[in-house]
């Protein structure tokens, strides 16, 4: 065993790497406050794994997205659990991101030549929000469709490039199958790729700058402790706790899937996921010409202050009690967001019409989730065949087709048999009069294959050709 370890070590330098990774000195010693970063990484890992598996069944197109999600949730073993884990995982990501940001802000850990580290973190924050936004549309159920319609409408309010931006994101003026493709590509390739890159940068810069330690520099100087074992234990303990909680919630309250998106439904009231509710409420106050202020200017100012925090707040002081402006502003923003969220819920409850509609929507979702899975009928199926027969001429043509025993060799729906070729698609190759001619007097090649001349009236022949042309 130890010889194997030695051999591996000589080849890979694993021990050195491990010592590097685990032997990091933490000023002031291990603390529970430091667990959020690695916790976030683990939840993200779980999102990647569950996401990859969900992609085994998911099809990113407007006509298949919903049925494939319904299939994996209702039929595939453990599908409901895994989808719930993934859906609730996005909420967990947001919660842990907020905790991580709060810890960094309150401890003043962004100080001390950590500007790029902080900004890389801000980019990651935005990417996580982007993952939540793009992922929400993918099941293509009612709430997904309408929440994303509202979300992308906001883009249209951006001055100058708004309309262009909205069309770019939607893949056109309206939401549709191209929107699903775009959101899928963003959710599965672009944003995760960016997240991997920025996590790499973030972790690298963190290791370079070293852990900031507690706000009180004295406390940090008094003693240091290595990352291993206590901090590692706390990190793993926290990560395991989140995963167990997530698993328990996903197991006991599986995420619901509503009925397929129906863009024509004018009564549907869109409501976003809880983490976007404050933004949703905020936008209600900015209608018409002032919209630019609420949608672009104020968020931009907040974002600039947030991202540029290490540049604005340059004093080395880190104790939260001595940094009332920064800490106060952060708490104020958090409280306003919470207040907006509460206001939204209260408003929805107060208005009986809205409350009733929202309750009805929840009930529809619950019912659809409970219904057994209904597979999608493939286009080659009976339904389309029947639809084609709605035309009386083709219906008569089918009767002639069967009476003349054409179906014996060409198949009951013109699909062909080993005895004779398929008739589907023939219309594309021969014009109707040409078809009528060869039916009456088959070519040599046809006769050799066993085709008999069709001996019926010209009128019947015309109807028969109409039927053959209608075959799909």
């Amino acid at each position: 065993m130890s010889r194997l370890v030695d051999w591996l070590d000589r080849r890979t330098g694993l021990q050195h790497l491990l010592r590097e990774a685990l032997g990091e000195a933490i000023p002031g010693g291990a603390r529970l406050a430091y667990v959020f970063g690695s916790g976030l990484l683990l939840v993200f890992l779980s999102q990647v794994i569950t996401g990859v598996f969900l992609a085994l069944y998911y099809v990113p197109s407007a006509d298949h997205a919903h049925v494939t999600v319904a299939y994996m949730v209702k039929e595939v073993a453990s599908g409901s659990f895994l989808r719930s884990l993934h859906a609730y995982g996005s909420s967990a990501m947001i919660i842990v991101v907020l905790l991580h940001v709060a810890q960094t802000l309150i401890y003043g850990s962004y100080k001390g030549a950590r500007e790029i580290l902080w900004m890389a973190g801000c980019v990651l924050f935005a990417l996580v929000l982007g993952m939540a936004f793009t992922g929400y549309l993918l099941p293509w159920d009612q709430k997904a469709y309408f929440a994303t319609a509202v979300g992308t409408n906001i883009l249209g309010e951006v001055p100058l490039i708004g309309e262009w931006l909205q069309r770019l994101v939607r893949g056109g003026a309206d939401m549709g199958t191209l929107t699903v493709s775009r959101f899928f590509v963003a959710h599965v390739f672009l944003i995760p790729g960016a997240i991997f890159a920025f996590v790499g940068l973030h972790v690298f810069l963190f290791r370079k700058a070293g852990p900031a330690g507690p706000p009180s520099v004295e406390a940090g100087r008094q003693r240091t402790e290595l990352f291993y074992p206590r901090q590692l234990l706390m990190d793993v303990g926290f990560a395991v706790t989140i995963m167990v909680c997530l698993g328990a919630i996903a197991w006991m309250w599986p995420a619901e899937l509503g009925p397929e998106a129906n863009p024509a439904d004018t009564r549907f009231l869109p409501r976003p996921e809880w983490y976007y509710v404050p933004v949703f409420q905020w936008l209600k106050y900015w209608k018409g010409s002032s919209a630019v202020v609420g949608i672009v200017i104020i968020p931009a100012i907040v974002a600039v202050f947030f991202v540029g925090l290490p540049f604005f707040d340059r004093s080395p002081e880190r104790a939260p009690s001595k940094r009332p402006v920064t800490v106060g502003a952060f708490v104020a923003v958090l409280l306003s967001l919470a207040l907006l969220g509460v206001l939204s819920v209260v408003e929805d409850r107060r208005d009986p019409a809205i409350a009733e509609q929202l309750a009805a929507q929840r009930e529809v979702d619950r019912q659809f989730t409970a219904e057994p899975f209904e597979p999608e009928e493939s286009p080659a199926s009976l339904k389309t065949a029947k639809a084609a027969l709605a035309d009386p001429a083709t219906a008569r043509g089918k009767a002639i087709y069967e009476a003349q025993s054409c179906d014996a060799c060409h198949g009951d729906a013109g699909q062909g048999t080993p005895g004779a070729s398929a008739l589907i698609g023939l219309a594309a190759k021969y014009p109707a009069d040409e078809l009528q001619r060869v039916l009456k007097i088959p070519t040599q090649e046809m006769t050799d294959g066993g085709m008999m001349p069709v001996d019926i009236s010209d009128d019947d022949l015309r109807v028969l050709v109409a039927y053959v042309n209608a075959l799909r």
Binding site: H64, A77, S78, P418
Partner: protein, 175 residues
């Protein structure tokens, strides 16, 4: 350094075990559903065919000659289904048992037609001829018409529609 290193590695066995238990239990929590999810398609046995409804047996009581019936068969392909109609012949044996014959000719797969005046089945493609019970009379087909599994459930005749290998003397099920 060497003392620190010893302490560093010395703590490994106990805590390492603790961590291993924690992480592997989370791993298992996730690995079991992931495996079940990925391997779900393996659970469907090949050749598992659903019963298709033909109709109430009372409609088939006076059965002087084989009747052609259309059955709707549903084929599942993951989340899709394909519904198609297939012709079958329902006959009654001397003992009064209902039999369902596939209309697919065992020679090259054309649809066999019932000829009422001759009281025989005949295949239009290469003139295969079969008796009223489906037995081969003459022509190139290597065997008689294929019987499909059928059952009567709640007074309704049901059939399991399947395809059989062509050009062989025995009835061999293919997908």
């Amino acid at each position: 350094m060497s003392a620190e290193r010893r302490r560093f590695l010395g703590a490994l066995p106990f805590l390492g075990a603790l961590l291993a238990v924690g992480t592997s239990s989370v791993g298992a929590l996730l690995a079991v559903p992931l495996a079940r999810f990925a391997m779900y398609p393996l659970r469907r046995k090949p050749g598992e065919v659903a019963w298709s409804d033909i109709g109430p047996t009372t409609d088939l009581t006076p059965l002087a000659a084989p009747v052609k019936m259309l059955v709707e068969i549903e084929q599942r392909d993951g989340w899709r289904k394909m519904i198609s109609t297939k012709p079958v012949y329902v006959t009654r044996t001397a003992e009064g048992r209902l039999r369902v014959l596939s209309a697919v000719c065992p020679h090259l797969g054309c649809s066999v037609a019932w000829n009422d005046s001759r009281r025989q089945f005949s295949c239009p493609c290469h003139v295969g001829v079969f008796a009223e019970d489906g037995a081969l009379v003459s022509g190139p087909p290597p065997r008689g018409m294929d019987e499909l599994d059928s059952t009567v459930e709640d007074g309704r005749l049901k059939v399991r529609y399947q395809y059989f290998r062509q050009l062989v003397t025995t009835r061999e099920i293919i997908a």
